[in-house]
Every structure is written in C-alpha cells, then in structure tokens.
Symmetry: C2
Subunit: 239 residues, 2 copies
C-alpha cells in the first residue's frame, strides 16, 4: 500500500515574508530530490496566468519546474502524469467548483491516495484536501455542486485561525463561535484550526504538526485543546 | 400594487448595547400601530426556544406580541396568517437551508411582496432577504439547496461590514478583497456593505439608509463609494 503524503499549510504568506517563504524548507524536504516537476492548480484565484507565474518563480527557486493545469490541453491528463500536486490559496468555493467542473476530484484522489504522489495545499488548497470545505473562511462567491472535497483526511481544517480579539468592538461571530456552530450540527468531524505559520505533515498513518505556531483542535462536545509544533496528530487520521 | 416594506438591519446588537436596542426606534416606526403580532423566524441559531424568548422579550417591550415559527403546528400556515415577519441573525447557511427545508421561500415572498406585510431582517435575516447569500460572512456549516434567497431586493448586502485594519498582521483576505473576488465573477449584482449600526429602509420603490454609520457600495468594475445615513438608495431597487 503506497504511503499517502500531504503537506497542508495554513497560509501561503506570513506577514512581512515572501510567498511560501515560511514553509519553503518543509516543501523542499517534503518533495525531496526525486520530484522534478510540480503540477500547480491556480483555480482559487481569477488571474490564473499571474498566479502560475508567482508559483513557478518560487518553485524554480526551490529547484522544481512547475506546470500549471490551466495551461494543459487536458487537465485530467496532466493530473494522471503529475509527479506532485500543489493547490494554492484564494477563494475555496471557486476552487472546489472548478475541481468539480473539470472532473478532477476522483483523478486527484487516485494519484494522491493510490499512487502516493506528494500533495501540497495552502489555505484554500488545504481546505479542499480535507473531508469537506464546511470550515472555510471564504465568502460563497460561487455555488459548488457539493461541499464534499478531496477527503485525504477524515476531519476538517480551518486555516488562518484567528484567536478572539479581546478589544474588538465588532459583533460578528468570532472564529471559535463559527466552528462551535458547525459542531452544533450532528456528526460533524473534528476541526483542526491552524494558525498562520503552521502546517500538518501527513505520511501514511502518521501526522505531525510543523511550523512556528500552535494549532487548536475542536472536537464536537468537548473543550478545544492547544497543540505545539512537533506534536503527533496521527490519532486524527483514524477518526 | 401594495407597497413592499423592508427594514434590513446590519447587526442585531451594537457593542455595549442591548439586543436590537440600536434599531428599536426604527422598528417601532416601521411596524407602527396597526401591527399587533410579529412572526419570528429563529432558524439561524440552534437553540430556537432560547432565541424566541430573547426576541419575544424585546418585541413585547416595544409593544408587539411575538409568535415563533418553530412553535407553530404548521410553519407555512403561520406565515400565511402573519401580520409582520422578523428573521434574526445567526448562521446564514443554516437559516437559508431551514427556509428551503420548510418550503417557506415562496410563501414568505408572497406575503411580503404581494400582500405587503412588513419584513424586518437582522444580519443573517438581512442576507436572506436579498437576491442571494453570496456575500454572507458566515461559515458554510450546512449545504443549502441553493444560494438564491428571498430576493426582495435585486442586489446583495454584506452585513457587519468591516474596514481593513491597517495594523493587522493577519493574512486572510480583507472583507473588501472578498467582495471584490465576488465581483470578479460575471454579472454579479451590486453589494451594499452595511457597517454595524446602519440599516436599509425600503418602502415600495424608495430606499433610504438609516442608522448611525456609513455604508459602502461596491459595483462590479467600479471604485467603491461611501454613503451617509439618510442618503437615498432608491436607484439600487431598479438595478
Ligand atoms: Ca481564502
Ligand atoms: Ca452570522
């Protein structure tokens, strides 16, 4: 059984840093030497050409060539021949709808789960890697045919997690309140809330929190718990 | 042709104030003397009994009896006999799904548009009054059968509008960026962004901004514009 390999990053850019700069070492270690080309999926943003240029520059600086799926004659074919896949951030609804519209959900699952090619997601690209996009922070600017996503992991992730701001006068729900509302719905999975600057590395049935910030785990009906970088999250995989 | 009458409030509670306190005068003026009972729809929150109690207390203090639709034997019947409708805030996806699940969309439209009974919405209750919930800030905790909503007005509203925070280090999209992403999609309607503390009064083909804060209007392909309380927004109705 090939090992499923995922690097699920909370955010592409850390305040004051460059694009993917805060996780470039983890990306290089994760892709290693044998991967030569990465297939980039830019669907979460509207300007795909520009997004591909940005991603290509970064990955080339890390030693990898980058093909963008929107430049491929046949998107499904480009996935079938991919050595590695990177899905970038933007609007999660737009991204998931494009994956469905281009019939990519099953073929990406096959390559990542059955063939074991490495998958990197950032922000929206992390949302769509999980069981569903129920815990995205993005605005529903389009209506995808379902909220079910690639389902590489059986739980939800909330990227860009934001702690309640004590001196805010804003009366909209806090991020914690929104996640707790989700858990008011029956049989909802755990929600791993990743603060900016952290990421989850999954290799087969082992999962580890990487990065420089803590994660907060919400389990339905239980108090949320805080977790340090380096902690083992493997228990989340067989939820 | 009966006049369509709507009071679309951005937020239920203003920082430091009581429930609906910041808009109670407008509510009393809007409902006037002839309305005796208000039909409350609490579907946006999970604890409907508690929500109905809160709303009932407030409306009774303003001189109106309140029936909650979740206590009605037949929800559709309760709408058909309603003198006025108030839909409260909470999670907009949960609210819209419940309206569809209970077959209430058409019957509420009939009462408000054809019979002209007054409609009050707050936060999520304002979102569902518009053409669609594409510009809600809420998390998609459930999947409604569509994002199309009651369509009392032909544009979108973004409640609890939040200006970009210059000294924030958070890298998630600002509210303005999210609305601009919406307008990257083809043929998307105007988005009226209501800061907390303001509301839109619609009477027939006349619309006026009420309250104590300014609104920001986003039109696809144009620069956003700022609008003071008291301004006439009637042009938005025949968009
Ligand atoms: Ca996003
Ligand atoms: Ca809300």
């Amino acid at each position: 059984m090939t090992l499923k390999r995922l690097l699920l990053v909370s955010n592409s850019t850390l305040y004051g840093g460059g694009y993917l700069e805060h996780c470039q070492d983890q990306i290089q270690k994760f892709l290693g030497g044998q991967v030569k080309r990465v297939l980039f999926i830019p669907y979460a943003l509207q300007d795909r050409d520009n997004y591909a240029k940005t991603a290509r520059q970064k990955f080339q600086s890390l030693g990898y060539a980058l093909d963008s799926i929107h430049e491929a004659a046949d998107p499904v074919e480009s996935v079938l021949t991919a050595e590695a896949i990177f899905i970038g951030g933007g609007n999660t609804f737009r991204l998931l709808k494009a994956l469905y519209d281009n019939n990519l959900i099953q073929v990406i699952r096959k390559k990542v789960i059955e063939d074991g090619i490495p998958y990197i997601g950032s922000s929206a690209g992390t949302n769509v890697a999980t069981v569903s996009i129920n815990t995205t922070n993005d605005m529903p600017i389009v209506y995808p045919p379902s909220l079910q996503a690639l389902g590489f992991v059986p739980f939800n992730i909330n990227p860009h997690y934001l702690d309640p701001n004590a001196n805010s006068k804003h009366m909209g729900e806090t991020r914690e309140q929104r996640i707790k509302q989700y858990h008011e719905e029956p049989d909802t999975p755990h929600v791993l809330a990743l603060r900016e600057g952290c990421m989850l590395l999954v290799e087969g049935n082992k999962a580890t929190l990487l990065g420089i910030t803590k994660a907060r785990l919400f389990k339905r009906g239980e108090c949320p718990t805080e977790h340090e970088p380096g902690e083992d999250f493997s228990f989340l995989l067989n939820q």
